[in-house]
């Protein structure tokens, strides 16, 4: 078997692609580290905050190794990170890794629910709209969709709380209940924030799916399938869908990236203690170690998502296999 052929074996390719992440991840760590260099003024002061005294400042500086040159600090910091030590929050001293792992389930639940909602609503509707191409329905849909895309999730969240939760008392206005305390409350608490979070993404994914579907359904091969007498249903769900999925999956991946960012605001509105609200608090407090931790974790997560998206391409588009 030739070298090229070995490179093309799925397992090897998976490993190869995974390895390709490493340099990107390295750049992400550099970026995260560089954040600490952006801080104006003395980080020791920032760490000590109200309790700063000259001797404690000096002590902290020595402890942080702020007197060492930057590359050395980076290597040292990277070593810590690789051994799982993301440092401690400047604000309260929680190990960053602990606060992130504690909050991870919240954000994963929220973002997961939102993306699920997005996909379940947007993809079938988008495929259908792309196939039907009815002019009036299109106009209405595109109007709704542009408004939907313009709605800021945090504001929608506020309004949902005021109207649905406080006004009508239908759903809890606040908080997150782990699934371990009952699936019912868990889901109930997720509905409103996930809805607020999902609206713009659903609109965008709907549009993209429709565009992709329109494109695919105007492709010559769909005409071939129709000429050969294949049913509309199988074209919609199989022959066309597989091709349309490449852009759709791309957009899903992008949405997932974006949702994590927007989740920060929605978490703040709904008082959910997730990664996003951690990022907000950390940014407000200039809590650099926590910010760095969030950047690393989110960056790593997004890389993995992108990897999955990339790998899915080769399923949907066999041309990429060679």
């Amino acid at each position: 078997m030739s070298a090229v052929a070995i490179l093309r074996r799925p397992g090897v390719r998976l490993a190869g692609r995974t390895l390709l992440i490493a340099p990107v991840l390295l750049v992400v760590t550099m970026f995260a580290f560089a954040l600490s260099l952006l801080v104006p003024g003395d980080p020791a002061h920032a760490i000590l905050g109200d309790a700063a005294t000259p001797e404690s400042v000096a002590a902290v500086r020595a402890e942080l190794g702020l007197n060492q040159p930057v590359p050395e600090r980076y290597v040292h910091w990277l070593g810590d990170v690789l051994s799982g030590d993301l440092g401690r929050s400047l604000f309260g001293g929680t190990p960053v890794l602990d606060s992130i792992t504690a909050r991870l389930p919240v954000t994963i639940s929220l973002v997961g629910a939102a993306i699920l909602l997005t996909i379940v609503v947007a993809v079938p509707l988008g495929m259908l709209a792309g196939y039907k191409k009815s002019r009036t329905a299109d106009r209405i849909a595109s109007l709704l969709v542009s408004v939907g895309q313009a709605l800021p999730p945090f504001w929608v969240g506020l309004v949902l709380v005021a109207v649905v939760a406080l006004g009508a008392g239908l759903l809890p206005p606040y908080g997150y209940v782990p699934a371990s305390q009952g699936l019912g409350p868990y889901l109930q608490h997720l509905v409103l924030p996930a809805l607020a979070l999902a609206i713009p993404g659903t609109c965008e994914l709907f549009l993209q799916t429709r565009t992709a579907a329109v494109e695919v359904f105007s492709e010559d091969y769909v005409r071939t399938a129709r000429a050969a007498g294949l049913s509309t249903w199988s074209i919609l769900t199989k022959w066309g869908a597989k091709n349309a999925m490449v852009p759709v999956v791309t957009v899903c991946g992008l949405q997932l990236d974006r949702l994590i960012g927007v989740a920060a605001l929605v978490e703040a509105v709904f008082g959910m203690q997730g990664i996003g609200s951690l990022a907000v608090t950390a940014a407000l407090n200039s809590d650099i170690p926590t910010i760095q931790g969030v950047v690393l974790v989110v960056g790593g997560f997004v890389l993995v998502v992108n990897l999955c998206v990339d790998l899915s391409y080769t399923y949907f588009n066999p041309r990429l296999r060679s």
Partner: protein
Amino acid sequence: MIQVEGLNVSFRTPGRAPLPVLSDVSFTLRPHRITGLVGESGSGKSVTALALMDLLPRNSAEVQIGVLRMGADEIDTATIGGRRGRELSMIFQEPMRSLNPAFTAGEQIVAVARRHLRLDRRAARAKAIEMLKLVGIPDPERNAGAYPHQLSGGMCQRVLIAIALVGRPRVLFADEPTTALDATTQAQVLSVLRELTERLGMTTMIATHDLGVVAELCDDVLVMYGGQIVERASVDELFRAPRHPYTKALLACSSVGQESLRGIPGSVPAPGHWPTGCRFAPRCSLASAGTCDIATVPLIDLPGDRSARCLRLDQTGETR
């Protein structure tokens, strides 16, 4: 046999008047024979085939078919959809793009076989390989597992033929099936079409702008210009003695001699810009004001089972 009478197609764009692209297209195709539909770009060849396959976009194309007969049965145009692949099939111009890039050649044939022949997975697979063999694809077992991008253009076109024919249709429309192919590959594909038409007793129509292909392959010819059929004849008669001035000019253009470099003055008028009367009149050396530009010219029957749409047939002579 398939008989079409009074096929009219126009396209609607919002805010504009409907744009007629086919007017009163009528013809008969016979089994075991290949009919060539020739004409320049935009003359309406593809639209003719697509209209008969009911593959034009529903919301913009307005299709009227006076009579459509297959064999002895008159066919309701609303039922065409259900006949695709089983009675009528079609192959297209760009073989690479007409195959689904996400599925293997085999999978695509299997899907059609299972739908029309109600076969199980294994039988359908065997059928697919049989079809690949039929269209002359070497090593069918292996090539069945190939994705379109792994096949050459000629192979793709043969796979398309296999897909079109697996449901055993009686009628096959081929829309410029070899335009995108190299000369040597074109020869291969044309041979396959010729052979299968005869062997399977199909009624085949091939749209092309290449008179060479017509001469090579066809038994009968329909010449199209500006959405109309302007001349109909058997291939020998047409080449021997074209009667319509357009056919004449077209033949002159494609010949080898120096006269071929003159071309036809002007260009094919776009739909909506057709002159009244004879649509070729503005480019025709025989056209005379007051005769050719008055009213729609009918298709005039001529001796020898042929016809032409021209008012100056007296001038166009019997022989070339």
